[in-house]
């Protein structure tokens, strides 16, 4: 039944105006069906609205459904419906009154909302509870359309009155509406939670529907009891909810109890009884459907971190079942490790070993990793864990072996000089390692225990062959490992160290690698004793729990138990837009690590830092070489340093600039002017360039990870500040007062928005950040993908598009090629639309698909695009027109990135 769209609409129009009522009803049904599948039936508006005057409730509801969908696009005609609504609000049948007020609230047309006020006021005081409960929600709807009007008309007061209503469902809906409204007025005391109101809520809690109970419990969790007695009495009345069949009621009750537990005296009987009461319902949640299990497990993960005592006896229920969906399996595994202890380790290990033979690769990897974590967490089990891991390595399953080697390195770190006997077995598997993590781990092990491995030099040399094809992580580790080897066995490995140093310093474009290479070189050449002290220094033990959620974040997430935040383990502002304003909020998240371990440059300690903290000094090449040419090993190194270094480095002045002489005082010497971001920061932090930006969408959260590169220092970060072409500034200043310890990492999120002064940067999407700490101010810059600034209302009307396209001068049109893209036109528009690039029209010209698209930036600049897709040709032609042509280049880059992603 393929009708052309116009033909279908024509027929429907005729049917809608049919004399027979039944025919009209059937026609409206067809219209709704077409609307569901996404056809545009807005042109039938007047005909459908004509059918509204009916006493057939079913027909009326269908017409209302249509109205809710299209009223916004036809505001003038929607007015035609007002009369009928107002009349229905007076209907003797409460169901019809409620229907009218419910629908009117869904029609987001200003003129209609004006007419809504009077009927709504009446409905809020209606004699029938069904109408009142509907009206309560309608206030929230109206507030979403026009907040000012709701305040002016006094609807908030009427809503507050409903909290005292005799009907529990009215109370619940009023609470829900007030909670939502108060979210957009964070400071106002809209809900006015006083002991009296709380009492009313607790009474309604016993009587209302399961959903109403959820609204009330979620609201209660925001209340701060005066004293412990009040907290206890609320807890007592909330506890019975733990036996509700609805898991959301249970989780919301758990949230209230978890929050109020903080207020109760720790030694009281009640506190302990309450703790005991929490465990069975949490376990029961795991017998629900898999999706609810997943939500429950994500929450239990938080609860276990906050209060491990609640579930410490229950580890068995987290054992994985063969048929569990993979998402349930992975979560259970995570909780198992958290609950592992001396008492249950035997059982846990037996389970983990079982899991390591399963099919799903992610799950198996996680299981292997878990065995390693058990070894680190429960000392008594370490031996058993190691032997289990060795068994697994014997299976020769590639990814199992690699994962096992990574965790064995951690075990070596935790228990030095205990399990080195297994190194031989590990070395057998050298060839099968193809993942950077595993290669790096193996290299680290070989370097660390070079003196016990007879052929360590051969092993490391074998990695050196493809040095430039390795990932940075492997390169850095290899560099350090060879330097370690050299310091341990200097006589045999000179050539090797020479080779790696020259590979790192001369042939690499990676500044981190180069810097580290020079530092070693320098160190080796100036003072071999210090070099030994530095490179082979004793490493701090690694901590038992490496992936705990940071305590303040954990506390925040506990307050969001049951909600999406607890599922994502992210604060709500990381994934929810601010409910107000046109400015999208951007979150700059800085994850600051100070990891001493694994990061072999950590061996270099703080004194290296000083080198780079001084103002950059241009040192004549010759002099630096002379300093370098100290006889390290009684002439043995002369060939190394004198010959190679002098020749190689001397010829490259660009490299020499980074090479800071050791004459800089060996104390902290913060420079008077902040050092520009150069290699200086790289030595202090590792700035991960793999920033994750939530895909698609407009402004998303931005994660920058900074890894501290040295071990013995604490430092704190005080302040971040950003400047940007789009006027991005932080909404709040940020200070972090707790010092950062070695191997500690802290996540900092900083909300940003685009209301700041605009300053043109080059490149345009450059984000500059200043980090001030007790050492100095550091600057770094990073690129934000431009798509973050594509706003949601970037869809141009077709006519406007045509006019604008003509209006923009032709010299502003820029053409680009997107190469190697194998998508069809629909997928392309779908992908782009997810990133707020909207397809306005699609044409097929001579077998080519032409897509006409528009997008808008937060600063109001429109970009028009024409994308030509030829079937069979993987190269697309993109023409961009914009009044500010300088952005085109970046837009093209985004296109390219989005389509290839």
């Amino acid at each position: 039944m393929l009708l052309s769209v116009t033909g279908e609409i024509f027929e429907l129009k005729a049917e809608l105006n049919n004399e027979k009522k039944e025919k009209r009803k059937e026609a409206v049904k067809k219209v709704i069906a077409a609307m569901t599948v996404g056809k545009d039936v807005s042109s039938l508006f007047p005909d459908v609205v004509n059918c509204m005057q009916t006493d057939n409730l079913e027909l009326k509801k269908l017409v209302y459904l249509y109205l809710m969908n299209y009223a916004k696009s036809q505001p003038d005609m929607a007015i035609m419906a007002v009369n009928s609504f107002v009349k229905d609000c007076e209907d003797p049948n409460p169901l019809i009154r409620a229907l009218a007020v419910r629908t009117m609230g869904c029609i987001r047309v200003d003129k209609i909302t004006e007419y809504l006020c009077e009927p709504l006021r009446k409905c809020l005081k209606d004699e029938d509870p069904y109408v009142r409960k509907t009206a309560a929600v309608c206030v929230a709807k109206l507030h979403d359309i026009n907040a000012q009007m709701v305040e002016d008309q006094g609807f908030l007061d009427s809503l507050r009155d409903l909290i005292a209503d005799s009907n529990p469902m009215v109370v619940a809906n009023a609470v829900a509406a007030l909670s939502e409204i108060s979210e957009s007025h964070p400071n106002s005391n809209l809900l006015d939670l006083n002991p009296q109101n709380i009492n009313k809520l607790l009474t309604a809690l016993n009587e209302c529907t399961e959903w109403g109970q959820i609204f009330i419990l979620d609201c209660l969790s925001n209340y701060n009891p005066k004293d412990e007695r009040e907290a206890q009495s609320i807890c007592e009345r909330v506890t019975p909810r733990l036996s509700h069949a609805n898991s959301a009621v249970v989780l919301s009750a758990v949230k209230v109890l978890m929050k109020f537990l903080e207020l109760l005296p720790k030694d009281s009987d009640y506190y302990n009884t309450l703790l005991k009461k929490l465990s069975p319902p949490l376990v029961t949640l795991l017998s629900g459907e898999p999706e609810v299990q997943y939500v429950a497990l994500r929450n239990i993960n938080l609860i276990v971190q906050k209060r491990p005592e609640i579930l410490k006896q229950e580890i068995k229920v987290f054992f994985v079942k063969y048929n569990d969906p993979i998402y349930v399996k992975l979560e259970k595994l995570d909780i198992m490790i958290r609950l592992a202890s001396h008492a249950n380790i035997a059982q846990v290990l037996a389970e983990l070993k079982e899991y390591a033979t399963e099919v799903d690769v992610d799950f198996v990897r996680k299981a292997v990793r878990a065995i390693g974590r058990c070894a680190i967490k429960v000392e008594q089990s370490a031996e058993r864990c190691v032997s289990t891991l060795l068994d697994l390595i014997q299976t020769k399953v590639n990814y199992v072996v690699q994962e096992a080697i990574v965790v064995i390195r951690d075990i070596f770190r935790k228990y030095p000089n205990k399990y080195e006997s297994i190194i031989a077995t590990l070395c057998e598997n050298l060839d099968s390692l193809d993942e950077p993590d595993a290669r790096a781990a193996m290299i680290w092990i070989v370097g660390e225990y070079a003196e016990r491995i007879d052929n360590a030099d051969e092993l490391l040399e074998s990695f050196l062959e493809g040095f430039h094809d390795e990932s940075t992580q492997v390169q850095l580790t290899l560099l350090t490992a060879i330097v370690k080897l050299f310091l341990k066995k200097p006589s045999e490995t000179q050539e090797l160290v020479q080779q790696v140093l020259s590979l790192a310093t001369q042939d690499s474009d990676n500044p981190d690698l180069r810097d580290r290479g020079y530092i070693y070189w320098r160190l080796l050449s100036t003072d071999p004793v210090t070099a030994k002290e530095v490179v082979l220094s004793e490493k701090p033990l690694i901590s038992e729990e490496t992936d705990l959620i940071e305590p303040t974040l954990l506390d925040e997430l506990i307050c969001h138990i049951g909600s999406l935040a607890s599922v994502y383990h992210k604060p709500p502002n990381a994934f929810v837009e601010g409910s107000h304003g046109i400015h999208h909020n951007c979150i700059l998240m800085l994850i600051v690590y100070n990891t001493g371990h694994y990061c072999p440059s950590g061996d270099l300690l703080g004194d290296l830092l000083n080198l780079d903290l001084g103002p950059p000094v241009n040192v004549p090449q010759g002099s630096s070489m002379q300093i370098g040419a100290v006889d390290l090993l009684g002439g043995g190194l002369d060939s190394l340093l004198g010959g190679d270094l002098g020749g190689g480095v001397g010829g490259s002045p660009a490299v020499g600039q980074n090479f800071i002489p050791s004459s800089v005082p060996n104390t902290f010497a913060p420079s008077p002017t902040p050092a520009a971001l150069s290699s200086g920061l790289n030595d202090l932090f590792e700035l991960s360039s793999g920033m994750s930006i939530a895909t698609g969408g407009y402004v998303a959260s931005k994660t920058v990870s900074i890894t501290g590169h040295y071990v013995h220092m604490f430092y704190c970060l005080y302040f971040f500040c950003c400047v940007f072409s789009f006027g991005v500034i932080p909404t709040t200043p940020l200070a972090m007062h707790t010092p950062l310890m070695p191997s500690q990492s802290i996540d900092i999120s900083l909300p940003l928005n685009t209301i700041g002064p605009v300053m043109k940067m080059d490149p345009l999407n450059n984000l500059q950040v200043a980090v001030k700490n007790n050492i100095d101010v550091f600057y770094f810059s990073t690129l934000i993908p431009l798509s973050v600034f594509f706003v949601e209302d970037g869809k141009m009307e077709r006519q406007v598009f045509l006019a604008t396209w003509k209006d923009i001068p032709n010299e502003n049109e820029l053409q680009y090629q997107i190469k190697d893209c194998h998508l069809n036109a629909d997928t392309v528009s779908g992908k782009l639309q997810n990133n707020n690039i909207y397809t306005i029209a699609k044409r097929n010209v001579e077998g080519q698909d032409m897509l006409y698209q528009s997008l808008k930036l937060t600063n109001g600049i429109w970009i028009l695009a024409e994308l030509r897709i030829q079937p069979g040709n993987p190269n697309y032609t993109l023409s961009l027109k914009c009044r500010a042509p300088e952005v085109s280049q970046y837009v093209y880059q985004m296109y390219d990135a989005i389509l290839k992603n």
């Binding site: 929600v137 036996s243 698609g696 998303a700 990133n835």
Partner: protein
């Protein structure tokens, strides 16, 4: 709150699309299709975040139900709502299938309008909904009927309407338990629990007040202290420790919390009164003893013995033992003492079925599995042997002690109500590793 609700068929075509919130754009419906339904990978999470929009989905046979939101909603509530939505649809038109949804789309929109308002779930009890969402229009109702409907939908007892009359007052009570087991090859119980449900069908007149009693250890112990020694001696032994239980919303939870008594005004017709879980002193109806021997690289010998462990007078039914076989199986020969056994290549398993088996018996199967030689280095994962069965008792040991009905306004008493009680124990995930 929930911003929109979409229903798709297995191809990703939209069958129902209802948007409640302005922040959900038209593209949301496509985003889910492209990123989840058409995704090449297996579903890794029931919650997906695409371009700052969160999608919750559940699947019923071929049908996808997705709720979408841009806010920090109560995630558990959204899933509970989706389940409820499925229940409501099933109650109205039977199985959730593409055809049924297409044929009832007007009804579904009407339901969605009623049970979700601005994304807030409202009363979703089918008993109440069926009184006014009838697909007939409501012209014929009198004023009293209308206010009765609204007071029921919003009222304290939203699950039952007034004025129900039956000539015969009858109650059916089923104790349905599923017993779950994970056993090591050596016969050590790694984990075992019973999850049970008390399901009722009530055909009672008026607004009866019911009280349900079972051999709950806490109650029995409490009574034992105050009551006669004779009574506690008899039942004390048989009482069971319930780890946790949850109730239908008709049960007065505060009363259960304070007195541990289960009292309620029941919905009319079918409903699930309670769910419970026990882990102590479970009667495991069957024991599976596996023996797997690898003979060289191309042959496996499997022997499995099952033993029934309950009163000889009782009969277990629908027994099925599923023995997984490696993927490279080329042929299987089976010999079993009882029932029928077949190798099912498509399921990679030997399925052994026995119609009936009495208590305290045992039976065994032996199989020779021929394997194709492979280069695959990865070892066969040896999935556990699973079992299905049905037994006419409750493996947890739960016993119904009483179910009393009081209706003060009408003239029938507890004695006039005909009550039927039945116990069924089924296998949940009943696995033995081999």
């Amino acid at each position: 709150m929930i911003g929109g609700l979409f229903i798709y068929n297995h191809k990703g075509e939209v069958l129902i699309s209802r948007v409640y919130r302005d922040d959900i754009g038209r593209n949301a419906v496509d985003a889910f299709r492209v990123n989840v339904i058409h995704a090449r990978q297996q579903v890794r999470s029931p919650v997906t975040n695409i371009a700052r929009t969160s999608f919750f989905h559940v699947k019923r046979s071929n049908i996808w139900l997705a709720a979408v939101t841009k806010q920090n909603v109560n995630a558990a509530m959204v899933f509970e709502f989706l389940y409820k939505m499925c229940d409501v649809m099933t109650a109205y038109f039977g199985k959730i299938s593409e055809e049924n949804i297409k044929n009832n789309f007007v009804l579904i929109y009407e339901l969605l309008d009623e049970i979700l308002d601005f994304g807030y779930p409202q009363n979703s009890e089918t008993g109440a909904l069926k009184t006014f969402i009838t697909q007939q229009g409501i012209k014929s109702q009198t004023k009293e009927e209308q206010s009765q409907i609204t007071s029921q939908v919003t009222g304290q007892i939203g699950w039952r309407r007034e004025g129900i009359k039956y000539r015969r007052n009858e109650l059916f009570l089923d104790v349905l338990e599923s017993v779950n087991l994970l056993m090591s090859p050596q016969g050590q119980v790694l984990s075992a629990h019973v999850s049970g449900r008390v399901v009722m069908k009530s055909y009672l007149s008026g607004m009866p007040e019911c009280k349900f009693g079972m051999n709950d250890k806490i109650v029995i112990d409490k009574q034992g202290k105050g009551g006669t020694t004779d009574d506690s001696g008899k039942s004390g032994k048989q009482s069971i420790a319930i780890d946790d239980c949850t109730f239908h919303q008709c049960v007065r939870l505060s009363k259960f919390d304070s007195e541990r008594s289960i009292s309620f005004i029941p919905p009319d017709g079918d409903y699930e009164l309670m769910r419970y879980r026990t882990t102590k002193d479970i009667i495991l109806p069957f024991r599976v003893i596996p023996l797997v021997r690898e003979v060289g690289r191309t042959k496996l010998e499997v022997k499995v013995v099952i033993k029934s462990n309950f009163k000889p007078s009782l009969l277990a039914q629908k027994i099925e033992v599923r023995i997984p076989t490696p993927l490279n199986t080329s042929g299987v020969q089976v010999i079993c003492m009882k029932g029928k056994a077949k190798y099912k290549a498509s399921e990679n398993a030997i399925v052994w079925k026995i119609k009936r088996m009495a208590g305290m018996k045992e039976s065994q199967i032996s199989a020779e599995i021929e394997l194709l030689p492979t280069n695959d280095k990865k070892k066969w994962a040896r999935p556990p042997i699973s079992m299905n069965f049905e037994v006419p008792f409750a493996p947890s040991g739960l016993k119904v002690r009483y179910l009393k009905v009081f209706e003060s306004k009408l003239n029938y008493s507890d004695h006039d109500v005909i009550k039927w009680v039945r116990y069924i124990g089924r296998s949940g995930i009943y696995e033995t590793r081999c």
